[in-house]
C-alpha cells in the first residue's frame, strides 16, 4: 500500500485566464481530505487532473501508487470511486440500468451493494433518471461510487442539493468507509461545516493557488480569532494577523495563536472563519 493515496508534485495547468500553478499536495492513505474553495477556485479542475481527465502542463500526479499518465492507471481506476458535481447519466436510464451499465466498467461491481444503498437512500431503482430530483440523482451517483469496493473516493461537491438528513447520513457513510485504514477520501465542498465534521486534512484553493493544506486539528489549533477595538486594530502591525473584519463597534482578526499579544482574548475559531479571513485578505491584497 502506498503511503499517500494521492501525491501531487508541482503541477501547473492553464486555460484562458485561469491558472493552477506549481501546486503540490498529498493525501495520506486512510485519511479524508476536504478541498475548499470558492466557485472557480480550481477544485473540479484539480479533480480532473488527478484522474487524468484533463492534461497537466507540467508536474506529476500519482494515485494509489500509480502514475496517473501510465497505462497501468486504467486498472488503478478500478479502485477509485468518483462522484462529479453534476450527475451525468442518461435521462432514459433507470437505477437498474445504471447497475448493469456500471458493472461493465468495474471488475468488482456489486449489484447487491448498489441496490441496498439505493434502498437506504430511498431512491427507487425503477424510476428513470430524469424523473429524479437533484438530490436523488446525487444519491444515486454516490451509491454508484460506493458499490465497487473502492480504496479511494473522489467526490466533487457531493453534498450540494442534499437535505441535512441525507448529508449527515453521507458523512456517516464516509467515516464508515475510512474505518479501513487502506481507504481514503478526497471531498470538495462549499459546506465547510460538513468538512469540519469528517476531514482529517483540509486543503484550501483560491484562484488556482493552494493557500493552505494541513491537518484540520492543527489548523484549528494554530489559528484563533481575536476580538478587539478599532483603535487596537490600528495599533497592530499588519503582518501580525492574517485577516481582519471590521464591524460597527468592534473588529475581529484571525491570527496565529502563538502570535496573539498579551491582554487579548482569543476565541475558538471554525474552519469557515479561517477560510473567509484568508479569502478576504487575498481579495484586499489584489
Amino acid at each position: 500500500m502506498a503511503d499517500n493515496a494521492i501525491e501531487i508534485k508541482n503541477i501547473s495547468k492553464s486555460f484562458g485566464k485561469f491558472k493552477i500553478s506549481d501546486l503540490s499536495l498529498s493525501l495520506p492513505s486512510g485519511c479524508i481530505m476536504g478541498l475548499i474553495g470558492e466557485n472557480g477556485a480550481g477544485k473540479s479542475t484539480l479533480i480532473r487532473l488527478i484522474m487524468n481527465a484533463s492534461n497537466t502542463d507540467s508536474g506529476e500526479i500519482s494515485v494509489l501508487g500509480a502514475d496517473n499518465k501510465s497505462e497501468g492507471f486504467i486498472s488503478t481506476k478500478d479502485d477509485i470511486g468518483v462522484v462529479l458535481d453534476m450527475p451525468c447519466f442518461a435521462d432514459n436510464l433507470k437505477g437498474r440500468d445504471i447497475d448493469r451499465l456500471m458493472s461493465g466498467y468495474y471488475s468488482r461491481w456489486s449489484s447487491e451493494r448498489f441496490l441496498s444503498l439505493l434502498e437506504r437512500f430511498e431512491v427507487d431503482p425503477d424510476v428513470r433518471f430524469y424523473k429524479l430530483s437533484k438530490g436523488m440523482k446525487m444519491k444515486l451517483s454516490i451509491a454508484a461510487a460506493l458499490s465497487h469496493d473502492a480504496k479511494l473516493l473522489i467526490l466533487d461537491e457531493p453534498t450540494s442539493g442534499l437535505d441535512p438528513m441525507v448529508r449527515d447520513e453521507l458523512l456517516d457513510i464516509l467515516m464508515e468507509f475510512t474505518r479501513d485504514e487502506e481507504r481514503s477520501v478526497l471531498i470538495s465542498s462549499h459546506i465547510t461545516s460538513d468538512l469540519e465534521k469528517i476531514c482529517d486534512y483540509i486543503a484550501f484553493l483560491h484562484k488556482g493557488r493552494l493557500m493552505l493544506c494541513d491537518e484540520k486539528d492543527m489548523l484549528l489549533e494554530r489559528y484563533s480569532v481575536v476580538k478587539l477595538s478599532g483603535q487596537q486594530l490600528d495599533e497592530l502591525p499588519k503582518d501580525s494577523y492574517i485577516g481582519a473584519r471590521k464591524g460597527k463597534y468592534s473588529c475581529e482578526v484571525l491570527m496565529e495563536s502563538s502570535n496573539i499579544p498579551e491582554g487579548f482574548t482569543k476565541e475558538h475559531t471554525t474552519l469557515e472563519e479561517i477560510i473567509l479571513f484568508m479569502a478576504r485578505n487575498e481579495r484586499e491584497a489584489v
Binding site: 480532473r48 486504467i74 488503478t76 481506476k77 462529479l84 451525468c88 461493465g104 466498467y105
Partner: protein
C-alpha cells in the same frame, strides 16, 4: 461487452428503434413509388446516431466522467465506431426487410390501389441491393468523418452545424444519385456498377479506419 459499448447501445436503443422502423417503412414506400431516391436519408439517419451519442455525452458531462472510469481510450472510441457499424447494419437489415415487405404487398395487391404490378417488382432486386450496400458504405464513411470532427472540436454551436450540414448535403446527394428517373438531375449515376461498389467499399473502409485512428489521437489530446 465493455461498459462504453453497453452504455451506447442501451442509451440509443429507444431512439434507434423508431429510426429502424422508419427506415423499414421508407423502403416499403420506395417499392411502391418504384424509386430508390428516398434511401439517401439512410446516410443522414445512420450517421446522426453515433454523432449524437458523442454530442449527448459531451453535453451532460458523461465524457468527463467516463474518463475517470476504468476504461481505456481505445474502448471508449471504438465503442462509438462499433455503434456506427451496428446502427448501419440495422438500418441495412430494416431497409431490406422493408423492401421485401413492399414487394410482398405489391404481389398481394396484384395491381390494385395504383401499386406496381407483381411483374414490375422483385425481392431479389439486385439494383436495390447494390444501391443499399453502396449507401451503407457512404453512411459509414460520413459517420467516421463526423466522429472525428466531434472528438477534435467538441460541441460548440458552430461545430455542431458543420456535421449537420455535411450529413444533410451527402444525404441529399445520395438521394439524387439513387434517383431512377431518366430525366433526373444526376441521371448517369443512377446505375451503380459492381466496380463502383467495390471502389466505394475500399475508399469508405480506409476513411473509416483512418477516422478511428485520428479520433483516438484527438480523444487523448483534446481532453478539456
Amino acid at each position: 461487452m465493455n461498459g462504453s459499448l453497453r452504455k451506447n447501445i442501451r442509451e440509443m436503443r429507444g431512439v434507434s428503434i423508431y429510426i429502424f422502423v422508419f427506415m423499414g417503412l421508407l423502403s416499403v414506400l420506395a417499392v411502391f413509388s418504384k424509386s430508390n431516391s428516398t434511401l439517401g436519408i439512410i446516410t443522414i439517419m445512420g450517421a446522426v446516431i453515433p454523432a449524437s451519442s458523442i454530442e449527448r455525452d459531451n453535453q451532460r458531462g458523461f465524457d468527463t466522467f467516463e474518463r475517470m472510469l476504468p476504461v481505456s481510450p481505445e474502448q471508449v472510441v471504438s465503442s462509438k465506431y462499433l455503434l456506427t457499424l451496428f446502427t448501419t447494419l440495422m438500418i441495412f437489415v430494416c431497409s431490406v426487410l422493408g423492401h421485401i415487405a413492399g414487394v410482398l404487398i405489391c404481389k398481394g395487391a396484384d395491381g390494385r390501389f395504383a401499386l406496381p404490378k407483381p411483374d414490375e417488382v422483385s425481392i431479389a432486386d439486385s439494383d436495390f441491393l447494390i444501391k443499399i450496400c453502396f449507401i451503407s458504405l457512404i453512411t459509414i464513411a460520413v459517420a467516421g468523418l463526423l466522429i472525428v470532427i466531434f472528438y477534435r472540436f467538441k460541441s460548440s454551436t458552430f461545430i455542431r452545424m458543420i456535421p449537420a450540414a455535411v450529413c444533410l448535403t451527402i444525404g441529399i446527394g445520395c438521394g439524387l444519385m439513387m434517383n431512377d428517373d431518366e430525366d433526373s438531375f444526376i441521371g448517369p449515376l443512377s446505375e451503380i456498377s459492381t466496380v463502383v461498389l467495390i471502389t466505394a467499399f475500399v475508399v469508405c473502409t480506409v476513411i473509416f479506419a483512418a477516422s478511428y485512428v485520428l479520433s483516438l489521437k484527438f480523444y487523448n489530446k483534446y481532453k478539456d
